[in-house]
Point group: C2
Chain length 197, copies 2
């Protein structure tokens, strides 16, 4: 009995991550009640993002320019490449402001189960970049999951012949974390990497 | 460092119910990775919904026609009006297919705390509709919350002089519900309204 425009909207919203049929209906209704304040601006924002955004040919980041503004930024350190699984991880590191080098976005992790092989990831370009004379260190910032660590290990082997320095993020107790709730692996790593004060 | 189009998209997505900053970023990235398959269709769906949808002058439903298609449907029973708080509740009842009358959407509940008075809700029109000769029964289907029940009680008093029959949804054990997990109020109501088999 509801309008086809509403059904179509709900159907598309339900495809977004974290939204099921029920929350898609709730979001649709929220939008419908605020056509001028929210629905039209959001439609415009999506349309303009869809037009403007492309993938950086160098690092795989998404931006309105290609190469992206991180790759072309004159003050970013060209000697450091931070390898991340996904653009979301790049954003997370950028939010900390701690890293002033460049990135390389893999686009996922190796997975025999899901049939993701090295050639499905953005690894070839990384090996080529690591071979450039100005690059001195590749920081592997894949997730600390089995898939992320497997992928990091594979990349490390691929880069071994290039002579570039390869590092990875430190394991340890999260800031604000309680030891009692921490898994054994993290605690073991934190103990082994303990620092003298 | 990310594009203003992306920031704008995330900012608007974070205003949707159930989405915080983190999930808004996740949704934005999901959309950015699928511009042609998802982001552009969703933008179009929102724009066309924003253009097409209006609020029914009779019942307060949202639809592409005003009056809405439920109010103008020749086979819907004009003698029954089901009063709901919100369009989402109307959709929920429509999904069951059990009700073939018409609706009246209040647009909320009375709330002294939030300063919602009877004149802020769609109650005046309901009283006028209930006075029409063809209307025989008003079913109060507000939520079984304190606010919903207060609102139902207020409407019942407002309709007392009109001579129309007023009913409300039954309380009881939800289908599939376990007694052990049920609150005392529901269990008491279910016991009092027990039916002879």
């Amino acid at each position: 009995m509801s309008a086809p425009e509403i059904d179509r909207l709900i159907e598309l919203l339900a495809k977004l991550p974290g939204l099921g049929p029920r929350s898609a209906r709730r979001v649709a209704l929220h939008l419908i009640k605020r056509p001028a304040q929210l629905m039209t601006p959001l439609a415009d924002a999506m349309a303009s993002a869809a037009r403007a955004i492309s993938t950086c040919r160098i690092c795989g980041n998404v931006d309105t320019s290609d190469p992206c503004r991180i790759c072309t930024h004159p003050e970013r350190d060209v000697s450091l490449i931070c390898v991340v699984e996904d653009v979301a991880d790049l954003w997370a590191i950028e939010r900390t402001g701690v890293f002033r080098g460049r990135y390389h976005v893999l686009g996922g992790t190796l997975s025999a189960l899901d049939g993701v092989n090295p050639e499905d990831l953005n690894i070839g370009k990384l090996v080529a970049r690591a071979g450039e004379t100005e690059v001195q260190e590749v920081i592997l910032a894949t997730n600390a999951t089995v898939a992320g660590q497997t992928t990091a290990h594979y990349i490390m082997e691929r880069l071994a012949s290039s002579g570039v320095k390869v590092s990875r993020l430190a394991h340890g107790v999260p800031v604000g974390g309680e030891l009692d709730y921490l898994d054994d692996g993290t605690l073991t790593a934190a103990m082994k990497s303990r620092r003298t004060l």
